[in-house]
């Protein structure tokens, strides 16, 4: 607990570092950070056209679904993958100056938030193209996103600790995320599978719900109650685990690096 409060006190440092991580990558290019937007837009355009045709879905329905899905999936998987090496990456700093450990997690989270900020610019563009307004439900995306962030932060905290100790876990997580990409309705619509038993199995995928609470409002439909429940319960249980894990291993982390 004290670690996390301390980290929030010094959050400015984490934000500066996170921002600098992105700035560094694009410092000498003309478009700078907007390369993020450009490459995401190209990906969405290509996949949207191909898979839209493949599934025979109208673009006005499919394109918003794919674009918001891909943007937020990129955010979640990026945050989690990089979260695994949050401490390993900051090893230099950790071994030389005493800072709250959670600070290094915030840095990685914020870095991915900056990327998301660039990518989300595509969203209004897509809505313009398909000439569709999401309606008032769009406001639900705000609590949805806060819940998503809370869940990501505990996952990142737990993984950053465990990955510092067990380096194989980084690979395991990456593989798992690859599989989850297909098990989460990003490229496909849950409605397509409606009525089939497989969808009930897929609903056990927590990312199904994490994505739903942000994407559904943005594409104009309120998320199901079960999604809210899963995400709220996940955030509470997850943070309890995260506090326990961080509290118990805090003193060991420097020795693992």
């Amino acid at each position: 607990m004290r670690d996390i409060r301390g980290a929030l006190d010094k959050a400015e440092f984490a934000l500066l570092l996170g921002w600098n991580d992105i700035a560094k990558r694009y410092r000498r290019s003309f478009f700078g950070g907007f390369w993020l937007t450009i490459s995401m837009a190209i990906l969405i355009g290509t996949l949207g056209l191909i898979f839209g045709a493949l599934f025979g879905l109208p673009l006005a329905e499919y394109l918003p679904h794919v674009s918001v899905g891909l943007i937020f999936w990129a955010f979640m998987s990026g945050a989690i993958t990089e979260g695994c090496s949050a401490f390993i990456q900051s090893q230099n700093i950790i071994l030389q100056i005493r800072l709250p450990f959670f600070l290094h997690v915030i840095r990685v989270f914020f870095r991915n938030l900056v990327t998301l900020g660039h990518n989300i610019l595509i969203y209004p563009l897509v809505m313009l193209i398909v000439a569709k307004g999401p309606g008032i439900t769009v406001l639900l995306a705000i609590p949805g996103f806060i819940l998503m962030a809370l869940n990501l932060l505990w996952i990142m905290t737990v993984l950053s600790v465990l990955c510092a100790r067990y380096r194989d876990l980084i690979q395991i997580v990456q593989n798992l995320l690859q599989v989850l990409f297909y098990a989460t309705p990003i490229m496909w619509l849950p409605e397509t599978l409606a009525g089939k038993p497989i969808i009930e199995v897929l609903k056990f995928n927590p990312f199904y719900h994490l994505l739903a609470i942000v994407r559904d409002p943005l594409t104009g439909s309120p998320p199901e109650t079960v999604s809210w429940t899963v995400c709220i319960a996940g955030a509470i249980a997850g943070w309890l685990i995260a506090l326990l894990v961080l509290g118990r291993s805090r003193r060991h982390i420097p020795f693992w690096l």
Binding site: L16, N20, K24, Q96, I97, L99, Y166, W256
Partner: protein, 262 residues
């Protein structure tokens, strides 16, 4: 006021190789019901510090000597609050600040100004305080307009000047140093040495690890000699330095040496 109190502190490091750091081992251990755990449980630990008890009071200037691997770095990290003891207690009163790697956290692609910003935030200098510190750092570094261009374009001397100017801006309660900082060209060296000396003067407690007899003799009043994680000798600089540096080069016999007489 600052003080340090170590009571029977031991620090064991786990040393991981590729195998023992892996999950496979842990899973194997569970899967085999712990039968082969005695073989697989191969996490080697190294004792960095071995039951050390000592106190450092406000105003003391302590030198740390010992051969490579004696536990100096471990001790510095313990006193910086980075390592926590495996057993025993370590009580540190006051804020300790390690002045070890001047270039810590410097991003070569960022400009001098951005680097000052980053480093200051790392030391907790933000907001309104930052402007004041920035001006002082900029002035001391004498870099002027160079602060607006990337750090990597600086000459080595300029890089050192910037890193030094940032690192020495704070006045910590407890100053922890590993050797003296090297400080570039001649003109700047005098100025830098003056600033360091000032810092050392003003700090409540100095802990300086070094291999240099002169450095310790000049700056420290008390010297702790570490070997294999144990304190071999602890006393006034002159005595300990003489015992360590002057041949015959072996530790003085413990007081129990003449117990055989009785």
């Amino acid at each position: 006021m600052a003080s340090i109190k170590l009571d029977n502190v031991t620090i064991d490091y786990p040393v991981f190789d590729g195998k023992s750091r892996s999950l496979k081992r842990e899973v194997m251990n569970i899967a085999t019901g712990g039968v082969i755990s005695s073989l697989a449980d191969g996490v080697v630990t190294v004792r960095g510090l071995d039951s050390i008890s000592l106190e450092i009071h406000d105003g003391e200037r302590v030198g740390l000597i010992g051969h490579n691997g004696a536990g100096k770095t471990t001790m510095l990290r313990l006193l910086s609050g980075i390592y926590e003891p495996t057993s025993g207690t370590c009580h540190i009163e006051g804020e300790s600040f390690p002045l070890i790697d001047m270039a810590l956290g410097i991003d070569p692609d960022a400009t001098g100004r951005e680097n000052i910003r980053l480093r200051c935030a790392m030391m907790g200098i933000t907001g309104a305080r930052f402007r004041d510190y920035y001006a002082r750092i900029a002035e001391f570094s004498e870099l002027g307009d160079f602060l607006e261009i990337p750090y990597r374009t600086y000459s080595t001397g300029m890089q050192t000047r910037l890193a030094f100017s940032i690192s020495t801006i704070l006045k910590p309660d407890i100053l922890i140093m590993d050797e003296w900082l090297s400080t570039g060209d001649e003109h700047f060296r005098d100025k830098a040495n003056r600033r360091l000396a000032e810092m050392v003067d003003e700090t409540n407690i100095l802990v300086l690890a070094s291999h240099s007899r002169d450095l310790i003799a000049v700056n420290c009043s008390r010297v702790i000699w570490l070997e294999h994680g144990k304190v071999i000798m602890d006393g006034p600089s002159a005595d300990v330095l003489a015992a360590y540096f002057d041949p015959p080069h072996r530790p003085p016999e413990p007081a129990t040496a003449n117990a055989g007489d009785g």
